[in-house]
């Protein structure tokens, strides 16, 4: 895949490039500012982008803003936002436009190269990758009907919210696809969610529910 990276810290930018190129991806542009990112995206038309939340000049949430700006011009531009800390607000804002292909992960996750590349691939393919920490916060917030879920169903719900498809969930929990399918059905019934959605739409429905 052709990737644009927006990261101002040289160490981290080098590391990311190394991880990506050593697994066969091409880093077409490395930028250090939000404006630079928007320009690079327009120029290179990448398959996927990786953006740090804090970028110069303000070192605030420049990255999130730049990502949202770039997606206004090209709504399905896949963006994976990386952050040193988890902030539910950013996850909400990134998902809010309803467009496909968005991710929000802690930088720590890059260390697990395989999972990180999976998440990047999922985002590039129009899917979702939300950090488990974000999902944990969301689950902690919304008590209510969630208490009726079994521990396993909560686990499945958490993985759905992170953006995993049934097959991946089955793999991670070491159960069969059929079992996951059944759990998903139960969860949707218990939470009174419309069944039948899949992929990105399913994630949005689950997140909307958790948002309350």
């Amino acid at each position: 895949m052709r990737v644009v990276i927006a990261e101002d810290n040289v160490l981290l930018a080098e590391g990311l490039s190394l991880v990506l190129t050593s697994s066969g991806h091409e880093v077409v542009s490395r930028v250090t500012t939000g404006d630079g990112f928007v320009r690079a995206v327009a120029e290179h038309r990448p398959d996927v982008t990786v953006v740090d939340v804090r970028l110069p000049p303000s070192f605030r949430d420049e990255g999130v803003r730049a990502a949202l700006r770039a997606r206004r011009d090209r709504p399905d531009l896949p963006v994976l936002v990386l952050s040193q800390y988890v902030e539910g607000t950013y996850a909400r804002e990134l998902v809010a436009d309803g467009a496909r292909g968005v991710g929000y992960l802690l930088k720590d996750r890059v260390a697990r190269i395989g999972e990180f590349l999976d998440a990047l691939g999922r985002v590039a393919a129009g899917g979702t990758a939300l950090d488990p920490e974000v999902v944990k916060q969301l689950l902690a917030r919304r008590a209510g009907p969630l208490v009726t879920l079994t521990p396993r169903e909560r686990e499945v719900l958490g993985l759905m919210a992170q953006g995993y498809a049934n097959g991946e969930i089955a793999e991670r929990l070491v159960v069969t696809d059929r079992a996951v399918h059944k759990h998903v059905g139960n969860i949707f019934a218990k939470l009174d969610l419309p069944p039948g959605d899949s992929g990105h739409r399913r994630v949005l429905a689950v997140l909307a529910y958790l948002e309350g």
Partner: protein, 412 residues
């Protein structure tokens, strides 16, 4: 001396009230002064040592009433200088407020009664004039009633003329004199009862000294905690990671499986270090606060709170970073308390600018009964706010609701 906003006739009732208070306090002073002198004399016999403090407490209550009423009349509240905490004689006598009360006592006795009676007395002269004019005929013909420098009143005509003039004069006096008398009394009371600039500054310095030492020790404790967290956590983890990598390096040639395990451990250690470090950083300064400022950070906290939270943030203007951080931490703490202990179903958070101050009010509809110092983090909140010269008030009756109110000055 009076409040500029009220004028003319509107001041008369307030002045009359204040004159009446002056008379009341004057009479009370008249009774108290000899008693205090007697008690002071009895100190020589020992008995007074026990009774004098009681007398001084009565004096304090009297003087406080005078202060309150003076403030009310003049419409200019003065900053209070707190009395010494103790009730013992030595403490009372060491307190400058007591001596101020004592100086006021004889003056109240004389000035309070005199000015008060004068004000009230003049106020009833129109009535006297009116009644007198109506009853001129009661006087015998050869000894007629005389008004206005001895003019005789011997017919309804002269009664109307002289009486009317007298009435007008009396009304003018009744408007002017009580206001003047009350204003003079108010001024005397202010001078005698209210703290001088020096005393006010001394009290302020005491407060500042206390809050500063609180701030310094809180800061110190905070630094120690961070140092310990970094030393025991992150630093130790980095050492362990380096050790695992070193071992892996030595085995690179001969035992690929062992190398794999060592590297995996090193990576896991690095992940743990990141988690710990993030927590340390978050406690030092919440990242969302530097990213989004106070409104954004509060919106984030409110939406993450387990209890439904309504947030309203007004136009805040320029707010210094430490004030933002303090208000943020208080709101976080209050919301945490509300979610954990109160059983509330709704929390409202209102943040606004009130002149020089930033104000935040957090109110929940929970069970109330929040006690300061019972592991609720309130002590920490208070120290944080007071270090910035701000004020924290918690109102939490049993049965609720609980209100936390912070006022923090934005200019120093």
């Amino acid at each position: 001396m009076s409040d500029e906003s009220s004028s003319g006739l509107a001041r008369v009732p307030r002045a009359l009230r204040f004159c009446a208070v002056g008379v009341g306090l004057g009479v009370a002073s008249m009774a108290l002064l000899p008693v205090l002198l007697l008690l002071a004399a009895l100190c020589l016999l020992g008995v007074g040592l026990f009774l004098l403090p009681v007398g001084l407490r009565v004096l304090a209550r009297l003087a406080d009433v005078a202060r309150r009423e003076t403030d009310r009349f003049t419409g200019r509240p003065t900053p209070e200088v707190p009395r010494a905490a103790g009730q013992r004689l030595a403490e009372s006598l060491g307190d400058p407020v007591t001596w101020r009360d004592l100086r006021w006592l004889p003056t109240s006795m004389v000035a309070g009664t005199t000015l008060g009676v004068l004000g009230l007395g003049v106020a009833v002269t129109p009535l006297v004039a009116l009644v007198a004019t109506g009853f001129w005929w009661v006087f015998p013909e050869d000894e007629p009633m005389r008004m206005l420098a001895g003019q005789p009143v011997d017919s309804w005509g002269s009664a109307g003329l002289l009486g009317g003039t007298t009435l007008v004069l009396a009304v003018v006096l009744a408007v002017v004199v009580p206001v003047a008398a009350a204003s003079l009394l108010g001024w005397i009371n202010r001078v005698l009862l209210h703290p001088g600039e020096r005393e006010r500054l001394a009290a302020r310095v005491d407060t500042l000294r206390a809050t500063r030492s609180g701030a310094v020790s809180a800061h110190d404790a905070e630094l120690r905690r961070i140092e310990r967290d970094l030393h025991d956590g992150t630093q130790a983890r980095l050492v362990s990671i380096a050790m695992h990598l070193g071992l892996a390096e030595r085995r690179l040639g001969d035992d690929p499986q062992a190398v794999g395990e060592l590297v995996a451990k090193a990576r896991a250690g690095a992940e743990d270090a990141m988690v710990e470090l993030r927590e340390v950083l978050r406690q030092m300064y919440p990242p969302i606060l530097s990213d989004r400022g106070l409104p954004g950070a509060l919106a984030s906290v409110a939406s993450d709170c387990a209890v439904p939270t309504e947030l309203s943030v007004g136009e805040l203007g320029e707010v210094p970073d430490p004030v933002e951080a303090a208000v943020y931490f208080v709101v976080v703490e209050a919301l945490t308390n509300a979610a954990k202990h109160s059983g509330a179903s709704l929390v409202t958070v209102a943040v606004s600018r009130q002149g020089r101050s930033l104000r935040a009010e957090i109110r929940d509809d929970g069970a109330g009964g929040v006690v300061e110092g019972a592991g609720t983090g309130i002590v920490g909140m208070r120290r944080r706010v007071e270090a910035l010269d701000g004020r924290l008030r918690i109102d939490s009756p049993l049965g609720g609701p609980t209100t936390v109110l912070v006022d923090c000055p934005c200019e120093w």
